[in-house]
Amino acid sequence: MKEVTLDCLGEACPVPLVKAQKALEDLAIGDVLIVSIDHSCAMKNVPEWAREAGHNVEIEEVDDGEWEVVIEKAK
C-alpha cells in the first residue's frame, strides 16, 4: 500500500481541494494520501469532500494551525 504526501502549505481554497482530488485519482484502493494544509478553510472542504466520496479520513494537527489530512482511498 502506497502512501503519498501532497504539500499544500501556503495554499488557499479551493487549491488544496482541487489538488487532493487530482492526486487521489492516481491512487489505488487502500492507498493513503496525506494532504498538508495550513489554511483553515481547507479543513472544511477537504475532509468533507473525501468523506462524501466514501473514503476514510483522519486529521492530525501537526502544529498550531497546520494539519495533515490523512485520506485512505476506499473505493
Binding site: 488557499a12 479551493p14 483553515s40 472544511k44 468533507e48 469532500w49 486529521i59 492530525e60 494537527e61
Partner: protein, 418 residues
C-alpha cells in the same frame, strides 16, 4: 485491522462552541476528556466572519479567532482532541461506546455537541457545483477568491445579509435572491437597512432557486419568480447559500429522542433521557442558536457529566458497598418525621457491632441517587443490601422490623430489644 480501544471519563462529540465549553468544564474538573471533531475545531462559528454579539469582545471578534481561544483554554485543562468523524455510538449501557474509523472509545459519559451544517437548496444540479465548483457556504473562506467578481447570495436571514455585506468588500456585485416580497427580509432591521443602502448589493425579490448550470464550474443560477413563474438565468461567478442549518444527527438516529426535524430533545440539565448521555448546542431542539447560548448549554452539560460520574462512583463504592450488610435509609430534609428517625438508624447500626453499614440519602437533595435505587421512592423507606445487591425494601421504619430484616442478612444476629 483490530481496532484500538481507549477509555475516557467523557467523550464529547463535536468541537464547536458548546462542545469546547463542555470540554473546558470537564477538563477543569480533572476528568479524562476527549473531544472528537470531524473537521475544523470551532464548528459553524468559524463560518462567521465577525461575531459582534458575544460578550467580552466590544470590538467584535472573528469566528475563527474566538474558537481558537476556546480551543486553547480546553487544551490548557488537559482535554485531548481527535480530529476524525464518529461512525457509530452505543449509548444505553453503563460503558458508552463511540466508534471512529481506527479507534473504539469507551466512556462513562457522552456529550453530543455535533451541531449543524448549512442547509442546501436541493435545486437541480446543485451537487455538481458544491464547494470548489462555485457553491459555497462560507464567506470568510471564499470571499477573497471572489475579488472583483459577481456573486449571488441565497437567503435573507441574518447570516445571508451580514455575510453578503462582507462579500461586497471583495466582489464587484452581490445579487441577493430573496423569497419574500420587495423590501421584506428575515434578518434584523439594522442589517436590512444597511443592505438596502449598499450600492454593490442588488435584490431579486420573490425568487427561489430553480437550478444551477455551468460547464465544470458554476456560471448561471436559474431563479424562479414565485409570483409570475418566470425563470431568469442570472450570470454569476459563484453562489453563497445561507438558508439555515440542519442538525448532524444521522449517527444518533433511533438512539436518542429527536424532533421531526431531527434535533435532539433534552431536559434543562441537557440530559437526553439516557443516564450519562447529554446533548448541548445547536444539535438540540431549542429556541436560539447562537455562540452565547451554545456556551451556556456546554457549561450545563459539562457540569452534568461531572456530577453523573461523581454520583456513579459514590453510589457504587459507598451506597452499594460490598464489605458489610447495607442499610440504606431514605429521608427528606424537609420532612420532619423522617428526619427525626436519623438517630435511631445510627443506633441500629452500632448495635450490630460493625456488621452493618448505614447510608442515608436525603431525597430532597439527592433525587438522582434515589432514582438509581428505583423510581418514586417515598421518604422513610429502607433498603437492605448484601454484596452490593438490594435484598429487601421496606416502608416500615420501626426499630423492630428494621432489626428483624437485618438479622436475616447478618452472620451473627443480635437480640431485638424495643
Amino acid at each position: 485491522m483490530e481496532k484500538k480501544v481507549e477509555n475516557y471519563d467523557v467523550v464529547i462529540i463535536g468541537g464547536g462552541p458548546s462542545g469546547l465549553t463542555a470540554a473546558i468544564y470537564c477538563g477543569r474538573a480533572r476528568l479524562n476528556t476527549l473531544l472528537i471533531e470531524k473537521s475544523l475545531v470551532g464548528g459553524l462559528a468559524t463560518y462567521t466572519n465577525e461575531i459582534e454579539n458575544f460578550p467580552g469582545f466590544p470590538e467584535g471578534v472573528s469566528g475563527l479567532g474566538l474558537m481558537k481561544l476556546f480551543e486553547k483554554q480546553a487544551k490548557k485543562f488537559g482535554v485531548k482532541f481527535k480530529l476524525t468523524d464518529v461512525r457509530s455510538v452505543e449509548l444505553e449501557d453503563e460503558v458508552k461506546v463511540v466508534e471512529t474509523f481506527r479507534t473504539t472509545y469507551h466512556a462513562k459519559t457522552v456529550i453530543i455537541a455535533a451541531g449543524g451544517r448549512p442547509r442546501i437548496t436541493r435545486a437541480k444540479d446543485e451537487e455538481k457545483y458544491l464547494f470548489d465548483k462555485g457553491i459555497s457556504f462560507c464567506a470568510t473562506c471564499d470571499a477573497a477568491a471572489n475579488t472583483g467578481k459577481t456573486v449571488m447570495v441565497i437567503g435573507s436571514g441574518d447570516a445571508a445579509i451580514e455575510e453578503g455585506m462582507f462579500l461586497t468588500k471583495f466582489a464587484k456585485e452581490v445579487i441577493v435572491s430573496v423569497i419574500h416580497d420587495t423590501g421584506k427580509m428575515d434578518c434584523n432591521e439594522i442589517a436590512r437597512d444597511a443592505a438596502l443602502a449598499n450600492p454593490k448589493m442588488t435584490f431579486k425579490w420573490n425568487t427561489m432557486t430553480e437550478s444551477f448550470a455551468g460547464d465544470g464550474h458554476l456560471d448561471t443560477v436559474n431563479l424562479k419568480n414565485l409570483k409570475t413563474g418566470d425563470i431568469e438565468g442570472v450570470k454569476v461567478d459563484s453562489c453563497f447559500e445561507f438558508i439555515g442549518y440542519e442538525p448532524n444527527t444521522e449517527v444518533f438516529e433511533g438512539k436518542v429522542n429527536m424532533s421531526k426535524r431531527k434535533y435532539i430533545y433534552t431536559d434543562e440539565h441537557m440530559s437526553v433521557g439516557i443516564p450519562g448521555v447529554f446533548a448541548c448546542g445547536d444539535v438540540r431542539e431549542k429556541e436560539l442558536k447562537q455562540v452565547a447560548t451554545a456556551v451556556g448549554d456546554g457549561a450545563i452539560a459539562g457540569v452534568a457529566a461531572e456530577k453523573f460520574i461523581a454520583e456513579t462512583e459514590m453510589f457504587e463504592n459507598q451506597i452499594m458497598q460490598k464489605d458489610k450488610i447495607g442499610l440504606i435509609y431514605i429521608y427528606s430534609a424537609i420532612d420532619a418525621p423522617s428526619r427525626e428517625l436519623l438517630p435511631m438508624m445510627q443506633e441500629i447500626e452500632s448495635v450490630f457491632n460493625g456488621q452493618v453499614k448505614l447510608n442515608v440519602i436525603d431525597q430532597y437533595k439527592g433525587k438522582s441517587l434515589c432514582d438509581r435505587l428505583g423510581c418514586d421512592i417515598e421518604p422513610m423507606t429502607t433498603f437492605y443490601t448484601k454484596d452490593g445487591k438490594v435484598m429487601d425494601v421496606c416502608g416500615q421504619c420501626d426499630k423492630k422490623s428494621i432489626m428483624t430484616r437485618l438479622n436475616k442478612l447478618v452472620a451473627q444476629p443480635v437480640e431485638v430489644v424495643v
